[in-house]
Amino acid sequence: MRIYHPASAEEAVRLRHELESSQYIAGGTEIMRLGSSISCDSLIDVTALSLSGIRMEGDEIIIGALTPLEDIRISDIVPAFIREAAASAASLQLRNRATIGGNFALRRADSYMIPALLAAEAEVDIMCTEGPKRKTAATYFGKTGCRALLLAFRIRAGRTGENRRIARSSHAHAAVTGAVSEGTYAYAVSGSGVAWGGKESWKDIAFADDLTGSADYKRYLASVLF
């Protein structure tokens, strides 16, 4: 494994495009985890790029992509349902290393953060080969295989919402995770997929059996979650 230490976001993105088998690394909890979904020859460490931290800008809350979930959990300014989503990460040790950007970029269907951020209609600042851009989180999420570097998440201050997570236990993968914020709903269903939009957007998901439960069970849960 070769590890690169770019000095800028631009350099990181350039490396990500030049190195065919490469990934960004921040906290590293996924890359280092037993049974990781990530396999690559090179790692691009972006921890030196000052992408961590939470601040207010106008009526927006800016959460740096490398902000650990624990910092979000204890934040005074992050909306409560986003903080709750961060708190659902299994342990303090993981929350201290896992980042919001890493969790979102993985696009896992049992993600802690994805439903909450999609329901919050968050925007993301990203660095592409063309330079910095701002997109909706939903747009970024839908573009799988995107090599852009997540820089920050933007959430409107005062955004209200609610999270629901149905898992057999605190450390188990959630069968269904959902969030609703001011009329926008988002659902993440283990082994099945992610959907967002209206209350019944869960119907777009192709439900499948897995260790968290049967497709029928998860379809039912999604239907009664809110």
């Binding site: 494994m1 590890i3 590293g28 909890t29 280092m32 985890r33 037993l34 049974g35 790692l43 460490d45 921890t47 650990p68 624990e70 299994a90 342990s91 303090l92 040790q93 993981l94 201290n96 290393r97 149905i166 057999r168 236990s169 605190s170 450390h171 188990a172 993968h173 260790l211 439960g213 049967s214 029928d216 069970y217 379809r219 039912y220 849960l221 009664v224 979650l225």
Partner: protein
């Protein structure tokens, strides 16, 4: 790379590859308290460190990520050899038991208290959210934090972790803390992995991808060419010596149905080849070059598949009997397949391998049909338990080497003497050539009663002469280890409207998997530990255990009793519901009491006729009454949220204290030359505090301070034989052996003192702190007695010897109560209250006893609600991580969780003690099932009880 770091406040340089796991580097550099329980899953917390002030998993960090950072490890909690106040409190609270990650828990709480000197319960829960505790539960960690706060405020800790028992005794029944607590919580180098010197060879086991197949050939020629490979063992170059891996007393009630490496694999993960190499990388490289040709056979996975007509046979070798062979054995063996291993029974277990039956039994009392005819209502339901895993934090591990021409094995085992016997057999050497050292055991729970790795390591070391270290991966712990036998239990129970149970019938069908470890005795426990709790005239059971191709099964804390109690108490609850009466009233009307003759035991002798004995000390009724009072039984609680329904349930439970007539323990107690005491116990302390029990009984008998008593245990060279730590035998058997040895030494001290003092023995007595006192008032210290006894003209060192066998039972009883909330819309389940009330006789270590009750109840809650081994259609285990398997963490602990001890003095146990921890596995499943039925009207009759099953029962989808 060289990472410049600060470790525990001092500059240091860590060397290694930049992408190397930080945990591995830290351990290699001597920070050995930083362990690994999950192969970098980021779950169990044994690898927890503090990085720049934050708690993190060191397994999930690369070395380069630590460069320039500040690291704290548990070693930094010590000042010299002195532990900090958090560690002290953990010992006093009783949570330091097997302690594999106790130092990490101490680190987590220390950091918490640095940041927040007055943490809330939620703060403590969060601090421990990433640390898996299997042995002691989580409840007393809150107490430990309170103790720290008290000490920081008042300068000392006055809080007692448990009540004291027996005012006339100094140490027994008092919460003194474990004698090895400081060493364990400090992270001393006490475990097998800590004994492995540099340049030790490693072993990798190549395992079967098939659940059922003949191994036609194994070509190791290319693999042997790999530089660094020492040897490769397969079915074709190892001896075909039949044995079995269950660590039971010889002759064992389990068939010898395997050899070291079989020519037929019987589960995914079965051994195919064992590669000994200089390092892991080399072994893995060689493994890829081993060519195996399989001839797959259709597998069977369930009892139903195994019992079907024409089912594939898991075993079809020649059957032999050491005694009690049937007359038609030659005819029976005509169809034996020569490719298969023999099946040898030490005595008849009533198996029939031609029908996949490993063992069977039946028996009972009274007239079962008459009993059902007298009933006003009958329930007849079938209950299914799942395959669950012990999940010790330290996986199965062994280090072996040759020393002075003898095979020396450092083991994490509950049965060192069975390890010695079985390894000697496999190696075809006498027992005097084998030295087994039981190191500290980082969790056993029954799985380390079985010789699952020591046989292979012992053989490989003996054949190669190389020092070899082997450690199961966490995944191997699931698919190549031992688990709880899945069981299908039909219970038919009849009762009258007045609550009298008129008849009970149990039909137990157990799944032993590929081999017959404990195939009779575990399933027998489903009946033998449940039916004797009932004062019912008509009871009968049938038992059949089947071979299948699931991962191996074996012993697990509680043995077959947790499964039997799930079935029989659920049936009681269903019957009470059908009769419209209170299940608790029904239970109280049908329980045994002291003096009741246990006629049922006659038919529960595990392969031989059982002895009928009366119930001895029995705190069952007190436990039921206390639990009912605590939970306010009969009062229906309501949730303000209409989606949440609340219900209550209970279970009455019993276990045993070892195996009377089978178990055997020995101990020696030596008077050292300065008058201090050394106990040599055959008993294997697996973290439960057995060494502390031995020390306490010796100190009590010899009237000396506890801190002048040391204990060496489970070392087959220096200690005397003991059948091992299983079947809840430790306190009763090994404790009684230590007691008898101490009494013997006491007599010898008096005898020697009489000679030295010129007094009559009957005029002498011993007094605290270790003196012999005569009626005339003369005193002689143990130091003086021992010094003169060992002088040039002395009569020899004073050594007491004690053994213990018994026909008498010391049965622990108890009752567990649960209050559960169920969301009938989403199926979510919360255990609101759990009260474990138990009669352990005199609890010698009361704080450890309480924590073991919490730990065992948590395991049982886990089995009931979360844990599940799932196989795919080919028999491959899909749940090979803690996360996928689903062990409970601190968040899963009941909101109101209490363990209490009923004060009962047993007539046979040492100082009145009985066993404690196994029984605590028996209550949660039936109590929770009953509570869920009370809340929702749905009886879930299979493990795990999930939201999905409840919602299906409610007809939600």
């Amino acid at each position: 790379m060289e990472a410049k770091v600060t470790i525990n406040g001092k500059p240091a340089v860590l060397r290694g590859r930049e992408d190397e796991r930080l945990r591995d580097v830290l351990y290699r550099e001597g920070y050995t308290s930083v362990r690994d329980s999950d192969d970098a899953e980021g779950f169990a917390g044994s690898d927890t460190i503090v990085l720049d002030g934050r708690l993190v998993y060191s397994n999930l960090l690369m070395l380069y990520q630590a460069d320039g950072r500040s690291i704290r490890t548990p070693e930094g909690l010590l000042r010299g050899r002195a532990i900090n106040d958090v560690q002290e409190a953990m010992i006093r609270a009783g949570v330091v038991q097997s302690a594999y990650n106790a130092p990490e828990a101490a680190l987590a709480l220390t950091v918490l208290l640095e940041k927040n000197p007055d943490p809330s319960r939620d703060d403590i829960k969060d601090a421990l959210s990433g640390i898996f505790i299997r042995d002691a539960g989580y409840e007393h960690y809150y107490m430990a934090v309170d103790m720290v706060k008290e000490k920081r405020k008042n300068g000392s800790i006055s809080t007692e972790a448990a009540p004291s028992f027996r005012d006339n005794l100094m140490y027994v029944g008092k919460p003194t803390g474990k004698i090895d607590g400081e060493a364990l919580v400090s992270g001393d180098r006490l475990f097998v992995e800590d004994k492995v010197p540099p340049h030790t060879y490693t072993m990798h086991v190549l395992r079967s991808p098939f659940a059922h197949a003949y191994v036609k050939s194994v070509d190791i020629s290319e693999a042997l060419k790999v530089d660094g490979v020492v040897d490769i063992f397969t079915a074709f170059n190892t001896p075909a010596i039949p044995y079995m891996q269950a660590g039971q007393g010889f002759p064992e009630p389990s068939p010898y149905d395997r050899v070291l490496i079989n020519r037929k694999v019987r589960h995914v993960g079965d051994r195919v080849a064992a590669i000994v190499a200089a390092d892991e990388e080399t072994a893995l490289k060689a493994a890829e070059l081993v060519k195996v040709e399989y001839d797959p056979i259709e597998p069977v996975f369930t009892v139903e598949e195994a019992m079907a007509d024409g089912a594939p046979l898991v075993h079809n070798g020649k059957v032999e009997y050491v005694s009690g062979a049937p007359d038609d054995l030659d005819e029976y063996n005509r169809s034996a397949d020569e490719r298969e291993e023999k099946v040898i029974y030490q005595f008849p277990l009533h198996g029939d391998i031609h029908r996949n039956i490993a063992a069977s039994a039946h028996g009972g009392i009274g007239d079962i049909e008459k009993g059902f005819a007298e009933a006003d209502a009958i329930v007849d339901e079938t209950y299914q338990t799942s395959q669950v895993q012990c999940t010790p934090l330290e996986p199965h591990v062994c280090y072996g080497h040759i020393e002075g021409g003898r095979l020396v094995l450092s083991c994490s085992t509950q049965v060192p003497y069975h390890v010695r016997r079985i390894v000697a057999k496999v190696c075809e050497i006498p027992e005097n050539k084998v030295h087994v050292i039981k190191e500290r055991v980082g969790g056993g729970y029954g799985s380390k009663q079985d010789i699952l790795v020591e046989d292979l390591i012992g053989y490989a070391v003996w054949k190669t002469g190389k020092p070899i270290y082997y450690r199961n991966t966490r995944a191997e712990e699931f698919y190549a280890n031992s688990t709880r036998h899945p069981m299908r239990m039909r219970v038919k129970m009849g009762g009258k409207k007045d609550g009298t149970i008129t008849a009970i019938y149990m039909d137990v069908r157990a799944n032993t998997g590929p081999y017959g470890n404990h195939c009779l005795t575990v399933p027998m426990n489903a009946s033998s530990k449940t039916l004797p709790i009932f004062r019912v005239d008509n009871m009968y059971y049938d038992l059949i255990t089947y071979y299948t191709n699931i991962p191996p099964t074996g012993a697990y804390q509680g043995y077959g009793a947790p499964k039997g109690y799930f079935a029989i108490i659920s049936a009681l609850g269903e019957l009470a519901m059908k009769l419209g009466i209170d299940p608790l009233m029904m239970a109280e009307k049908n329980i045994v009491e002291e003096g009741y003759m246990l006629e049922i035991l006659k038919g529960l002798g595990e392969g031989r006729e059982g002895a009928v004995v009366p119930v001895g000390s029995c705190g069952l009724r007190e436990a039921l009454e206390r639990g009912a009072k605590l939970i306010d039984w009969g009062k229906k609680d309501e949730s303000p949220d209409p989606d949440w329904k609340i219900g209550k349930g209970f279970a009455m439970i019993q276990q045993g204290s070892g195996l009377p007539g089978l178990d055997h323990s020995n101990a020696q107690v030596k008077l050292l030359t300065d008058g201090t005491i050394l106990v040599l116990s055959g008993g294997a302390d697996l973290g439960t505090g057995l060494d502390t029990i031995s020390a306490k009984v010796a100190a009590e008998v010899l009237k000396v301070p506890l801190d002048i008593v040391s204990v060496v245990s489970g070392d087959t060279d220096s200690c005397m034989f003991d059948t091992g730590a299983y079947a809840s035998s430790g306190t009763y058997f090994s404790g009684n052996a230590s007691l008898n040895a101490a009494k013997d030494l006491s007599r010898k001290i008096i005898h020697e003192a009489a000679l030295q003092m010129g007094e009559k023995e009957e005029d002498l007595s011993i007094e605290y702190p270790g003196e012999v006192v005569s009626k005339s008032g003369r005193r002689l210290s143990y130091w003086k007695i021992s010094h003169d006894a060992t002088a040039g003209d002395g009569r020899g060192q004073l050594i007491g010897t004690g053994s213990f066998t018994t026909p008498n039972f010391a049965i622990p009883y108890g009752a567990h109560f649960a209050e559960v909330a169920v969301n009938v819309k989403t199926g979510e389940i919360k255990v609101l209250k759990f009260y474990a009330i138990q009669d352990a006789g005199t609890p010698i270590n009361p704080e450890l006893a309480l924590c073991q009750m919490y730990g065992a109840a948590m395991k049982s809650i886990g089995h009931t609600l979360y844990e599940d081994m799932v196989l795919d259609k080919n028999g491959k285990c899909l749940t090979t991580t803690f996360t996928d398997y689903g062990v409970p963490m601190i968040e899963e602990a009941p909101l109101d969780f209490r363990a209490e001890l009923v004060d009962i003095n047993d007539q046979y146990g040492p100082f009145g003690a009985k066993s404690i921890s196994e029984i605590a596995c028996n209550g949660a499943a039936p109590a929770i099932a009953m509570a869920i039925a009370d809340a929702t009207g749905v009886w879930v009759r299979s493990w795990p009880i999930t939201g999905e099953k409840i919602l299906r029962g409610l007809g939600k989808f």
